[in-house]
């Protein structure tokens, strides 16, 4: 911008720039009109602002310790070929070793053809010992300090099915004479609302009935947790804490491998066991034998016998979600 000493602009400005046509007063000492100082101050302010912003967001740079480019770019489980899954499992095995110090084997068992899992729970025998919750805690590599488990056992008042009268925090010897005990876990619904609401299809129902989560695809929006009527979903509010010697090394990609921070998880009927024919951990731990598990498509299975011979009910049947978890009393 050219200005003569007489403080008159030489050429008329069109006002197309950010000054207002050079009509400002000039400083008698420096001969400029302060626009340079203004520009310097603005530049300084902008630089400071950018620097402060970078400093404010600095914690994000530490994220590379928890996640990698390979994980960032990983495709959805359903789109991975067998070879790609092998690569992913290798990477996850290495990451578990780095982050937790344990050697683990992560497999990816597929559903057994023709099998549809169902679970029964005998409320006459359950004594509320919570050994099932403990077995789940140990089998599924849950966070230790919070005693996390997919199973929550409610001490209910006899004569009522109202959960509002239920209590999960009991610590007295069980069973109490006027109470009965109801463990609740994922019901593996036929029409799961959690699957409907997930915006990225990170959770879906498999052919054998188990509703699974791809932990490397979940974005952590927690819409499924809001949608589930059975409080079946758990979110990793922080990185799970578990000592190396307590880690169960027999892991499955869709089930009990150690989940990262910020993703959703849930009971998977121990699919790393059950898809190989084994009983789920909660059932094996139950000392009274209140739990029944099997293939609903096999007419000779224990679960089918229970459904045909016991008076069976499901929770919140009126919601129409068709849970595959059946409760029954003996008498």
């Amino acid at each position: 911008m050219n200005h003569s000493e007489t403080n008159k602009p030489i050429t008329p400005c069109s006002g197309n720039c950010s000054c207002d046509g050079g009509s400002r007063e000039k400083d008698p000492w420096t001969g400029n009109d302060g626009s340079n100082r203004r520009a310097v101050l603005k530049g300084l302010g902008a630089t400071l602002g950018v620097a402060a912003y970078a400093k404010a967001l600095a914690p994000l740079t530490e994220l590379t310790q928890q996640t990698s480019m390979a994980e960032f770019l990983q495709k959805h489980y359903k789109e991975l070929t067998t070879d790609e899954i092998t690569v992913v499992l290798d990477r996850l095995t290495r990451e578990t070793k780095e982050q937790y110090g344990a050697d683990v084997t992560i497999s990816d068992p597929k559903p057994i053809e023709g099998v549809k899992f169902g679970y029964g729970l005998n409320l006459s025998i359950c004594n509320g010992c919570r050994k099932c919750a403990e077995a789940c805690h140990l089998e599924n590599n849950h966070d230790r300090p919070s005693n996390q488990s997919y199973i929550r056992v409610f001490e209910m008042t006899k004569g009522s099915m109202d959960f509002e009268k239920g209590n999960v925090h009991y610590e007295h010897p069980v069973p109490q004479p006027d109470k009965y005990y109801m463990p609740v876990q994922c019901q593996q619904c036929e029409h799961p609302p959690c699957v409907d609401v997930c915006p990225v299809e990170a959770t879906w129902k498999e052919k054998d009935g188990i509703v699974v989560v791809d932990y490397n695809w979940c974005i952590g929006c927690r819409y499924c947790e809001a949608a589930c009527p059975y409080h079946a979903r758990r979110f990793n509010w922080q990185k799970p804490e578990i000592a190396a010697e307590e880690i169960n090394p027999d892991q499955g990609y869709l089930s009990n491998r150690i989940r990262p921070q910020g993703v959703m998880e849930k009971c998977t009927f121990c699919l790393h066991r059950t898809r190989n024919g084994r009983l789920p951990a909660c059932l094996e731990a139950c000392p009274t034998g209140a739990r029944v598990f099997g293939d609903l498509n096999d007419p000779d299975s224990e679960i089918r016998w229970v459904l045909e011979n016991k008076r069976v009910f499901v929770l919140k049947e009126e919601l129409g979600l068709k849970p595959q978890f059946f409760y029954f009393f003996d008498e």
Binding site: M1, S14, K42, K55, P199, N236
Partner: protein, 444 residues
Amino acid sequence: MNNPASSSDPVSLVSPSTAAKTVPEWRQYLRFLWNAFSQSVEGGWKFYVWMTLLTAVFLVGANAWAVQVRDGMALTSMSDHVSWGLYIANFTFLVGLAAGGVMMVIPAYLYHDEQMHDIVIIGELLAIAAIIMSIMFVVCDLGRPDRFWHMIPGLGKFNFPVSMLTWDVIVLNGYLVINLHICGYLLYKRFRGQAPSTKMYVPAVLLSIVWAISIHTVTAFLYCGLGGRPFWNTAMLAPRFLASAFVSGPAFIIVAIQIIRSQTGRMFGEGAIRTLVSIIRITILINLLMVVSEVFVEFYTGGSHTSAAKYLYFGLHGHNELVPWIWTALTFTLVAVVLFMQSNVNRRPVILNVACLLAFVGLWIEKGMGMIIPAFVPSTLHEIVEYRPSLTEWKVTAGIWALGFMIYTLLLKITINVHSRKLRDASGARTIRSEDSLAMSSEE
């Protein structure tokens, strides 16, 4: 289109060799954007203090969010029982604010209220700022924001049309694009000194009316379709959202108009404020009626499904964290109703502004803490775990609100500069009066 740059133009961003050629439209648009932005960060000392303060708050919020991403959402007070909190509460309210921001569009365009025409843009700019804020709240609520790309159709997996969240992504981003187009086009045309072409923006404006209703309906559908949450599972949620949106939006704009008046020294928008007050008088009563209806259904019927309402209004089994919140909100709303119903409210700015502020804050509480949190208490298995937002959540919330105010301030400054001809393009033909300012709107 535009005339070639005249040779008498000494300050031209077009290099001499191309001075005689036509500058392509998109370059003109970019030049407009650049000039608009660089001029809008100029101002008096009050402006700099305001923006510096907002920047400081924004940086505190940004840092809190970064720490939250690194260390996990355990820094919030959310839990597996109350899994949505302050972030989603603010998101819900801001989607309503964005919808209500275009409330003025209806009288201006559908009823040809000329006094509203030039001020409609204030509401559309509010919509832009509010949508950006609501999108930021959703991003800050994600456990894995680094996996945002999973939602992009084609790249990731987009569970459309089954998941209502995907509908929300579409309508919110679409609404942002529509409003950016309308405001950008109108301001650009005024910058160029040209009359805007009706078909370039009027269809978008009409679309934005329908779209505004849809963004808040879809957001309500997010919640009211969940059978496991009886507090939300009511048909009344969408109408209630809309009614409260059409109170908070106009209330904010009434105050914004007065602030613009005081900062620019121009008297305008008298008719607009009258229209907005009339709107609020109706919608605030509709909102109140819906609250009464909900309260009746909950408490007359009783039973287990009403535990959430009991918890909200009276506390449950000794837990009463939300009770002061909701009663404050109801009191604010009732006082605002009384004030708005005064016949002289338009002539008494103090009463008007107090009423607007009370309505705004009351609805923020009622729609946020008073609608999101109670659905989680008691939990689906009837456990009572309470929720009180943590410091991290307050910091992030404050940071996003500060950014929203910053964006809105800058957008308003651009608009004022354009309308006052302080920001204008000299190289175009002037086909409209040069004295086209906001002050003339009452005479048009």
